[in-house]
Subunit: 223 residues, 2 copies
DNA sequence: ACTTCGAACTTACTCCGAGTAAGTTACTCC
DNA sequence: GGAGTAACTTACTCGGAGTAAGTTCGAAGT
């Protein structure tokens, strides 16, 4: 899972010269490995400096590779950023899904999901930074792709909402979408606010408050 | 209120030549008037093409002025964008505040506020576009300023929440902040989703659903 | 009417970063 | 060991943010 470096080439950040002793180090790597390397570096640097503050040359240099190679593999700066975003979101989705599925009942599932969400962002600062800068993709074709990445989350929330409705009840699908979008927007905003606010309140407090705020409201959607 | 043009100089968008007849048209304007002109043009163009798609030259040309003048008045692209954002948010805040204050009771105030929010964004597409691109300011000193602009909204929501708590009740201020941030995040996300979704559902439907979702939850914060 | 003086405004740049055309080098498979 | 190809590089273009330094208009004083 933590496979940032997995080869004889030292990950020095800048281009590594040949081994001094004699045998030249293997420079070229196959495409998949290079893509992973680039993605790892991009995630780290985007996380540290933000989208605007990061240049493609920076990333290429960190990997020890030239810029056109990055373009060959990821197409554009937006494409590379989107790839980072996508991978991070997938990890986050996994974490939250696991927490939700492990819970005993729907009420606890909701709480556990919120806690998992905020905790993950706590423990992965670069993930958070990348997601905050997600708005950079507001324009262009990347915007649609970014939406699709986020849509998986909305789908998870919508599923949870449905679990709380009687199976035979003719539920209003549009209303479920509204609720799911709201919850997604609320949690993202809270995550941003929380870090700008110095890391308070705790994930547990946030989750408990959201829980109390939303639980009875979901009840009233049942009819 | 709609003072986009207020002078003998025709607002042709591109630089206007002298009047053909004879008397040369007054070219120079005092600073305040020019600032307004630039801000109006910027709002329009940012709204049409987004932050990334707009260059400072575009805006300068639309006003019929050279780029350094724009820099003299607004400092940077971020500064100009922030000025647009700030003005639009102030208008939106006014609209929502009015709707809230005109309502008969807290429950209706909440509904009216939501309707006003979504309706305003419907009727001011450029406002919406600018706000969607707000994420562009995620980095740098402009980020803090953008947060402050949004904070007024959160404050309005927080005030409304407090109105629903018994005056003598020892309410948890942190919890109120959490709720206010959540509502702000939820409504912004819904606004974005709604337009990407072709303008459905209606503002009234969204407001009603949010109302139902949140009303009883707010109740449970009372004790 | 003529000078003065400051605010309004411009020309002509620099610099940086996204993206690309065309060529070169190292690994692999016969 | 000689193709053939994937991996990779050098050396650009192009556009847009931001700036230094100078110019012109218009009003206020005399």
């Amino acid at each position: 899972m933590t496979s940032t470096t997995d080869s004889p080439v030292p990950a020095t950040g800048t281009a590594a010269p040949d081994a001094v002793g004699g045998v030249p180090v293997k420079r070229r790597r196959d495409r998949a490995a290079r893509e992973r390397e680039i993605l790892d570096a991009a995630e780290r640097i985007f996380g540290e400096r933000g989208y605007q503050g990061t240049s493609m040359d920076d990333i290429a240099a960190a990997v020890g590779v030239s810029k056109p190679l990055v373009y060959q593999y990821y197409g554009s700066k937006d494409g590379l950023f989107l790839a980072c975003l996508s991978r991070l979101r997938a990890q986050l989705l996994d974490t939250v899904s696991d927490a939700v599925l492990a819970a005993a009942d729907p009420e606890q599932a909701m709480y556990a999901g919120f806690v998992a969400w905020f905790t993950f962002l706590d423990e992965h600062p670069s993930a958070w930074s990348v997601m905050v800068d997600e708005g950079m993709l507001a324009a262009g074709p990347a915007a649609q792709a970014a939406d699709e990445v986020r849509a998986e989350f909305v789908a998870l929330i919508a599923m949870m909402v449905r679990l709380n409705l009687p199976a035979d009840h003719p539920h209003d699908e549009e209303e479920i979408q509204i609720v799911a979008q709201s919850v997604s927007g609320a949690t993202e905003r809270l995550a941003i606010w929380r870090t700008r606010n110095g890391g308070t309140p705790t994930p547990e407090k946030l989750a408990a408050t959201l829980q109390r705020l939303l639980w009875r409201g979901l009840d009233s959607l049942r009819g």
